[in-house]
């Protein structure tokens, strides 16, 4: 037990605020739900927050099919969260995970449908590879612009999100559209679908290889960031680009590399989502992964393990939202409120510390804090 205690003592300064933010977020959301009940046909109900919590928890964890839903929802969040967090470590704001995700998804859907009859051992890697390349490209563009012109990625990535959505619509309508459906969408994936555990039990029908890939990516990214020379360079550039230059590192190359890698991960997240869960993409894909992944990265403090946990949390919330709405008659968008409040508490971490009496961790400047300094300025080298 004392080793656990030791671990907790070391982890506490880093973990306390995010944990506190989550707890406070759930509490506030409960209050909001309570106030909202006035507007529902069922009327004001003092027990409503508890019905909400029960609904969320049950919808996420009670029953194999629900746990499957949680894991399936968490998969793209973990991978895309790694993408965003990876960028943060380099001092880059990849807000373009949305666009990179979508492009990865559409390429996986389109190429996958084309390879539906090919053997799975070919179809799956090729489709996933296409997703990775598309995402990497959509990350390369803002990375190169930042490195060569200084255009700040916070604006260019958001622009590319919108352009990306239009591009996806165009591709689905004009390139990948499959005949025979009542609305515009890509075709069936056939052998390109990721294998699932459905053979064990019908409840596990949706539990696919994607979660395994996501779980493997976590230690891989951790190793890359903290044990490799490339990771050292990325973190140095993210924390102090001037010192990095004097140390012989090349911030321009690292910026481009990091944004491309980040985009690649987000693209893979999109590919896994399609190949594993939804199996097709319509012209206008209503997914929240893009912004959820930012919340996941912030909550997880850009650390792979934190992102894993945060991704599971939001996966659970998204999975539980539907059953919660059925039980408590509160809109599923309440999860967006929970997310919003968690983020606000993360930003105003002082409040969390005050309320939960947490002392300040002795950490240095967060790397992403150094990045605001590059806003609006000319690229150097």
């Amino acid at each position: 037990m004392s080793r656990l205690r030791q671990l907790w003592d070391r982890a506490r300064p880093v973990v306390a605020v995010p944990l506190g933010a989550v707890i406070l977020g759930l509490v506030v959301a409960g209050v909001v739900a309570l106030a909202s009940s006035v507007f529902t046909p069922q009327g004001f109900d003092l027990l409503l927050p508890f019905k909400v919590y029960a609904g969320l928890f049950g919808g996420a964890f009670l029953g194999l099919d629900h746990i499957t839903n949680t894991l399936v929802n968490a998969t793209p969040l973990i991978v895309a969260g790694l993408a965003v967090g990876f960028g943060f470590k380099a001092g880059l704001f990849n807000i373009g995970a949305d666009g990179q995700f979508l492009l990865g998804a559409v390429m996986a859907a389109g190429i996958g449908a084309m390879l539906a009859t090919a053997p799975a051992i070919v179809a799956i890697p090729v489709a996933l590879g296409a997703a990775a390349i598309a995402g990497a490209l959509w990350g390369f563009i803002p990375g190169a612009l930042k490195a060569w012109t200084g255009a700040h990625e916070v604006v260019t990535t958001i622009m590319l999100n919108f352009i990306g959505r239009s591009l996806v619509a165009y591709l689905v309508l004009n390139v990948f559209q499959a005949p025979g459906f009542s609305f515009a969408r890509t075709g069936p994936l056939g052998n390109a679908e990721l294998p699932t555990l459905g053979f064990l039990s019908p409840d596990l029908d949706r539990l696919n290889l994607g979660i395994l890939i996501a779980l493997l990516l976590v230690p891989a990214i951790w190793w890359l960031l903290f044990r490799s020379t490339l990771g050292f360079e990325i973190r140095t550039v993210g924390t102090n680009p001037d010192a990095a230059r004097y140390a012989g590192m090349r911030p321009a190359v690292l910026t481009i590399l990091t944004m491309s890698l980040s985009g690649l991960l987000a693209g893979v997240a999109g590919g896994l989502d399609i190949l594993g869960a939804t199996h097709f993409i319509p012209a206008s894909y209503g997914t929240t992964v893009g912004f959820d992944s930012i919340a996941v990265a912030l909550l997880g403090r850009s650390h792979p393990v934190g992102i894993l946990l945060a991704g599971l949390l939001f996966g659970a919330l998204r999975a539980g939202a539907g059953p919660m709405q059925l039980d408590a008659h509160i809109p599923v968008e309440l999860v967006d409120v929970i997310q919003a409040v968690i983020l606000l508490f993360l930003a105003a971490d002082v409040i969390v510390r005050q309320l939960l009496r947490i002392r300040r961790a002795k950490s240095g400047l967060e790397p992403v804090e150094a990045a605001t300094g590059s806003y609006g300025k000319q690229a150097s080298l």
Partner: protein, 535 residues
């Protein structure tokens, strides 16, 4: 220990106003600070300091970096509140609650690092916070400009109120700072290390201005660590050491050695013994080097020099004459537009930083916190910042944490870096130890060329001695050393040869042992030997 003054006691008569005529001058101090005490976490910055300032006096505050002089003046100017003590102006106690309050009481301060807004004009900078208005909303620039011009002329210089500050030479910028104080009717002026960035000629000019101000009844506090300067300008000198007043002297009754001993608390060897240099072959050869600065202007205009192994070449010059760009080109951070750089026979012109470093060059940058270290990283990572990618610290993509830590422990011992361990973040080290870490990293290799930029800026005398000794040691090991420093004295003390930089060229080479301050200063200021003596 408090100041001596004869005839001025705590029962000085109540103030009858600051300008009641010169006759009252000897009785009421313009400023009295009594028992001022200020604690910061871990350090007692001011320890019951007493100070008084007579009207029309130039009073120097002498002390090392970190002795507490700036803290004392920041308290006077309302930037910090004292823990204990009181302040009296013209004999009457006052509470100074902020800078506006200090200004209202007639106190003006010229900071060591200019507090000017470069993109604004002289007039805008002067009136900021005390704007001359035409109506409730709009600023009256015309009126302000007139006032500024006449104020300047009153004290013997010309100024264009509509010039943008960023285009002005440093000496003129300093006068803008003084005008800021005068515009607000300051009677007491505090100048913090005003000559740090000036040539000897500009220093003489500013001294003239100060003498005129004193004659007109302004009282001046002059903070400095330069002994010969305070002896030249001050009416009285108060020495502060480790937060306490050590003593007070008139220039006539003391000398540099006594002042230095008071400042440091022991006999100080003012000049490190640099020994004889035994230069061997040429190691670094720079030929007709041209380069542009960030604003696409030519910053280097044909620099040429050689440095031999076992020799220290010092570059003297007023900041902004191309030294930064020279260092950047030599280290690979900036590409030259013309010319060549050769190291040990290899052409390294325009090569990348890493390839130049691998060819045998080490570099100690001027701003250690910004360029030399990553403060939030652990010390051991900082100690391998330039070699993390090579064996034994890494093989390909994989880092060897144990090897890094071992090397770090060794370096900490060899260079006497005061730190609890090798894994604490660099930010926890003091300035002197941070610089030692940078030095440890850069000096611990087989070096052909060593470049140092302002290596002892802001350090205490002990650390300065340590670093100068290490530089000379490296020279004796056969390294070619290039020392760039805005502190002319450092260059004069340590260098075997001196190159004076002016407007992007080295205008003259001097012998390190025989060069004179005045000669070097003139070259720094004008770029050419003076005409026949002007007398």
């Amino acid at each position: 220990m408090s100041l001596e003054p004869t005839g001025v006691g705590s029962d000085a008569p109540a103030s009858t106003g600051p300008s009641e005529g010169v006759a009252l001058v000897d009785h009421v101090p313009a400023l009295t600070m009594r028992g001022i005490t200020k604690r910061f976490p871990g350090v007692l910055a001011n320890d019951h300091i007493d100070l008084d300032l007579r009207p029309g006096e130039i009073h120097a505050l002498l002390g090392e970096n970190g002795a507490g002089k700036s803290t004392l003046m920041n308290i006077l100017y309302g930037l910090i509140a004292p823990d204990e003590g009181e302040i009296l102006l013209d004999g009457a106690p006052v509470q100074i609650t902020g800078t506006s309050d200090a200004i209202a009481h007639g106190i003006g301060m010229v900071h060591q690092h200019f507090m000017l807004v470069p993109v604004l004009t002289v007039a805008d900078n002067v009136i900021l916070g005390a704007e001359t208005m035409s109506g409730p909303v709009f600023v009256d620039r015309h009126e302000a400009g007139e006032r500024i011009r006449s104020l300047a002329q009153q004290f013997g210089f010309d100024i264009d109120p509509n010039a943008r500050v960023e285009g002005l030479p440093v000496g003129v910028q300093q006068r803008v700072e003084i005008l800021k104080a005068l515009y607000r009717d300051a009677r007491i002026l505090v100048l913090d290390e005003p000559t740090a960035v000036l040539t000897p000629q500009e220093t003489e000019e500013i001294f003239e201005v100060l003498r005129r101000l004193a004659k007109e009844g302004h009282s001046i506090i002059f903070i400095s660590h330069k002994l010969y300067e305070v002896l030249a300008i001050a009416d009285r000198i108060t020495v502060i050491r480790r937060g306490k007043v050590v003593g007070s002297r008139r220039p006539a009754e003391t000398d540099e050695d006594e002042l230095a001993e008071m400042m440091v608390g022991r006999e100080v060897e003012l000049v490190v013994d640099r020994g004889d240099s035994k230069p061997a072959d040429v190691v670094l050869s720079v030929t007709d080097l041209w380069a542009r600065d960030d604003r696409r202007q030519d910053a280097l205009r044909g620099v040429s020099f050689d440095i031999r192994a076992g020799e220290i070449l010092g570059i003297a010059g007023v900041a902004g004459n191309g030294q930064d760009e020279l260092v950047e080109v030599l280290t690979g951070l900036r590409k030259p537009s013309r010319g060549s750089v050769t190291m040990a026979g290899r052409d390294i012109t325009g090569h990348s930083v890493r390839s130049i470093v691998e060819a045998g060059l080490a570099f100690v940058p001027g701003d250690r916190q910004r360029f030399g270290l990553v403060l939030s990283f652990p010390l051991d990572d900082n100690l391998v910042l330039t070699s993390y990618y090579r064996a034994p610290f890494a093989k390909g993509l994989v880092r060897d944490e144990e090897a890094i830590r071992e090397w770090a422990r060794e370096a900490i011992k060899t260079y006497d870096i005061r730190t609890p361990s090798e894994i604490v973040p660099g930010s926890t080290l003091s300035g002197g130890n941070q610089q030692k870490a940078v030095v440890a990293r850069e000096f611990s290799r087989d070096l052909k060329v060593l470049i140092l930029d302002q290596p002892t800026r802001g350090l205490d005398v002990g650390s300065i001695e340590f670093i100068h000794r290490r530089i000379i040691q490296k020279r004796d090991e056969g390294t070619a050393v290039l020392l760039v420093s805005a502190e002319l004295d450092e260059v004069l003390e340590v260098s075997d040869r001196i190159g004076v930089m002016y407007r992007g060229r080295i205008v003259e080479f001097l012998d390190g042992r025989t060069a004179k301050r005045e000669e070097a200063g003139l070259l720094m200021a004008t770029g050419g030997r003076a005409q026949a003596a002007q007398s």
